[in-house]
């Protein structure tokens, strides 16, 4: 199997501080790949490199062979990389449909003028996009909230809408930044179910950053463990769980 995402020897420095140091890993098509690590280990820095917010000084990041480093975030999004945010990237005063439609914006072809006149192509296009949005609403079971402002909805639902907004972009690669942070057990279980369903139905590749170890061990195909910007281990959940360096980093004691 060829890799979807190839990260090679990436080093990212802020002044003299190395946020990422010589990080390499691959993710495969249809794989759910998780990145774990303590606070400040560099998890979010990797995400920001993957979607073009940061440009690492050294290394290469390729998506299906295409180099991402040096590209702007919008260009990378257009290549099919979508992400969700830890602290939600939603418009709280807009309703659910409008938030999801914004996720479709990148795929709209008609220009500002045609959209303003609202004839022919613009209208037809809107219908197509609305239908896509409805498919996501169906998948994530958001029917009851369509016309409610996002800010009025419970946090667990907002996180689900955030996932929906990213799915609306029809990405090849979805980056999930702590999708279950701050959720209670029931909300977490729901969210995990939606993530797995989205993956199965849309045949998505995902990279997940998450603190909740139970969730990660449950759903990830492979895991990358980071500490202070360096790779501790890459492997299946079982391999990573039994890795000496990971245990040390997490439990803070030396096992020897």
């Amino acid at each position: 199997m060829t890799a979807l995402l190839e990260v090679r020897e990436v080093t990212l420095r802020f002044g003299g501080v190395a946020a990422l140091n010589d990080v390499s890993f691959d993710t495969n098509h249809d794989e759910l790949f998780a990145i774990i690590g303590p606070n400040g280990a560099g998890k979010t820095s990797i995400f920001n490199c993957l979607n073009g917010v940061y440009d690492p000084q050294v290394g290469s990041i390729r998506l299906d062979g295409e180099e991402l480093i040096g590209k702007k975030p919008t260009a990378i999004a257009r290549l099919g990389v979508a992400r969700t945010f830890q602290n939600l990237g939603l418009f709280m005063n807009l309703d659910v449909i409008d938030n999801l439609m914004l996720g479709r914006h990148m795929r709209m072809r008609t220009g500002f003028a045609a959209g303003a006149v609202w004839l022919g192509r613009a209208k037809r296009e809107e219908v197509v996009h609305r239908r896509k949005v409805e498919e996501i609403i169906d998948l994530l079971e958001l029917e009851a909230f369509r016309r409610q402002p996002v800010g009025m909805l419970p946090y667990g639902i907002q996180k689900r809408i955030e996932l929906g907004r990213a799915l609306a972009m029809e990405p090849r690669l979805l980056l999930l930044d702590e999708p279950v942070a701050g959720m209670n057990l029931e909300e977490t279980e729901d969210m995990v179910r939606y993530i797995l369903e989205a993956r199965d139905e849309l045949r998505l590749s995902m990279v997940l950053v998450e603190h909740d170890m139970n969730v990660v061990m449950d759903i990830a195909d492979r895991i990358l463990a980071l500490d202070f910007g360096e790779v501790l281990a890459v492997g299946t959940p079982d391999e990573v769980r039994s890795d000496q360096r990971v245990i040390e980093a997490y439990l803070g004691t030396s096992a020897t």
Binding site: E134, D138, E143, A144, E197, E201
Partner: protein, 613 residues
């Protein structure tokens, strides 16, 4: 009292002479008005329409496909799904080939699914989706009769390589080269007195019993209700109560096919309120729980409304109540009508539109007793909710409240062609063409229920007044006899408690005890809202139930109810149930009725505590 039995619908009701089955009615509609709308379903946010021609085509295809799978007349086929067109198409398809439809509640856990599939010896199961399929797969090894499983929505299903599990589309393909007319031709072989469907009654005690309903029963019920509801082809209903329950089966399938009206399928339980608002049905059947919930919603909204709006609401509902009294007696004069018209402009229209009741001309409450105060509220809005009384065993045909002769607290008069009388022990007996064939594989229960003269023993205790109005006291086995020897009807007291928007469930206890007590379950939405307004922090239902402030709130409700009761009926103490009751955990029946025995056992400690340990 007359004893005429209606053998089957009159010839004048159906132009081609009496029909013998529901599938035959479908064929007639598809012939006479093929392009008329028969169903709508909301999918991906859009209402899709199906005509009668499509209804027939789909039903016939389903029937022919079942025949291809080896289903023969007299065989049973189970449907385990939320309401959706495929449910109805399957039902008609099954009945059309002389087979029998068995419905399973979508909320039924795997053990109940096993019991029903096993007891009915179903050969094919039509399961809605992954969730229902999983339940069947869990118990499939123990079901030797089950040969095929058809999955309507195969998304997420991982076992499609099993040759005995097929999707709905593959299923219809099985009969792709057969003609719809073959199915139509087969309808002539249907014998009206044979079984058409089995409805498993989710008894509050013991395993469910399979009530056998004949083709003739379905048509008799359709004819009788047509006269009572004044329904016609222009009517619209929303199909939302479980279709395996006789009430929704009547509204969606039986009455739907008799009258040829439009049946709407919304997106599901969670969107019920918005579905209702979009459909604005003209005929609406609600169980008490639905009416209570609507009332609670309005009251919460009014708490949030501006002072002016609140005053307007109070003023017009007070006027509405007065007008309702006149309407119930059929004495609403010109002045009253003008006042009602003004009220329509000022309040009733907007409120009814928001509830989805703006176009309702026939509103029915049934399936369980309802508190008078709840009914009065809807009458005040100009929605004449009329109580009906029936049960699975008489195809829901028994009594119904006449349009302009309403006695609140009573369930109306016998429908045309129905006899009702009270036995010596107070039990309500009824006889009509709706009385079922008996329980499947349970002769003893059948003999206990239908006596040799054809009277159905309903298991309810009640009274008939001089005008022929029936009042239900309670289920015979629920009557509480206190240690003082008083006979008490618990459901009457429970309903008074449930009038409060804060009370979701109430179970009165007192059998062989000195006094009555109650277990009360709070309504999470309203009490949660109440707590939030008081900055009372809470996490879960249980946490909220344990707050002393909440206990205080409920004790005010109980005190208010006690004022309306005689001394022996008063609730001397109560405890809050610390969890939400659930069908899957065996506390509620599939129709959300409380299983008293289960509650009494589960919360025995709370009960003992109220009687001094």
């Amino acid at each position: 009292m007359t004893t005429t039995l209606h053998p089957r619908p009159e010839a004048d009701a159906a132009p081609d002479g009496p029909a013998h089955s529901l599938p035959e009615l479908l064929v007639r509609h598809a012939r006479s008005r093929p392009k008329a709308a028969a169903m709508r379903r909301k999918r991906y946010g859009v209402w899709e329409e199906y005509t009668f021609a499509e209804y027939l085509e789909q039903s016939a295809r389903a029937g022919l496909a079942l025949a291809e799978l080896g289903v023969r007349p007299g065989d049973t086929v189970a449907v385990h799904s939320e309401n959706r067109p495929e449910w109805v198409w399957a039902d008609l398809g099954i009945q059309g080939i002389g087979a029998i439809t068995v419905g399973i509640y979508p909320t039924s856990p795997a053990a109940e699914v096993e019991y029903i599939l096993g007891h009915s010896e179903s050969r094919v199961l039509i399961a809605e989706d992954e969730e229902q399929l999983d339940k069947a797969l869990e118990v499939r090894d123990r079901l030797p009769n089950l040969e095929w499983i058809v999955v309507i929505d195969p998304r997420g299903v991982k076992v499609l390589d099993d040759p005995r599990i097929i999707t709905w589309d593959q299923f219809l393909q099985a009969a792709a080269d057969r003609d719809v007319s073959e199915w139509e031709a087969g309808l002539a072989d249907i014998t009206p007195d044979r079984c058409a469907l089995i409805v498993y009654t989710s008894g509050t005690t013991g395993p469910p019993k399979g009530a056998m309903i004949s083709h003739a029963n379905t048509l008799a019920a359709a004819e009788i209700f047509q006269a009572a509801f004044h329904a016609g082809p222009d009517d619209e209903v929303l199909s939302y109560l479980p279709l395996c329950h006789i009430a929704e089966r009547l509204g969606t399938v039986i009455n739907g096919l008799w009258n040829g009206y439009v049946v709407n399928f919304g997106e599901g339980v969670e969107t019920f309120a918005s579905d209702l608002r979009e459909v604005q049905p003209t005929i609406f059947l609600g169980v008490p729980r639905i009416w209570e919930k609507m009332l609670a919603t309005v009251e919460i909204r009014m708490n949030d409304a501006s002072r002016l709006k609140r005053a307007n609401y109070r003023f017009w509902t007070r006027i509405g109540r007065r007008l309702a009294q006149q309407r119930m007696q059929g004495t609403l004069g010109l002045g009253g009508r003008m006042l009602a018209a003004l009220g329509w402009v000022m309040l009733f229209r907007s409120l009814r539109e928001k509830l989805g009741l703006a176009r309702v001309h026939t509103a029915i409450s049934g399936a369980a007793p309802i508190a008078p105060q709840v009914l009065e509220f809807f009458w005040a809005l100009g929605v004449p909710v009329r109580e009906g009384y029936g049960q699975t065993e008489n195809t829901a045909v028994c009594t119904y409240t006449p349009v302009d002769d309403v006695k609140i607290g009573m369930v109306g008069k016998a429908l045309p062609g129905v006899d009702v009388r009270i036995a010596e022990d107070g039990e309500i007996l009824t006889r009509s063409a709706g009385v079922f064939m008996g329980y499947l594989k349970n002769e003893a229960a059948t003999e206990d229920t239908i006596d040799p003269d054809g009277w159905l023993h309903t298991g309810d205790v009640g009274e008939l007044d001089d005008d022929g109005f029936l009042k239900i006291t309670d289920r015979k086995k629920d009557i509480i006899i206190t240690s003082g020897g008083k006979n008490i009807s618990p459901s009457e007291i429970e309903n008074l408690l449930k009038v409060s928007p804060y009370v979701r469930e109430a179970v009165v206890v007192g059998e062989k005890r000195k006094y009555l007590t109650a277990l009360v379950g709070i309504e999470l939405d309203t009490v949660g809202d109440w707590a939030t307004r008081r900055n009372l922090a809470f996490t879960t239902y249980e946490d909220l139930s344990r707050k002393p402030e909440v206990r205080e709130l409920v004790s005010e409700v109980v005190a208010g109810v006690n004022e309306q009761l005689a001394r022996v009926e008063q609730i001397k103490d109560f405890r809050l149930i610390p969890k939400e009751l659930d069908h899957e955990e065996g506390e509620l029946t599939a129709t959300q009725k409380v299983k008293r025995r289960a509650i009494n056992e589960e919360f025995a400690a709370l009960i003992d505590d109220m009687y001094g340990g």
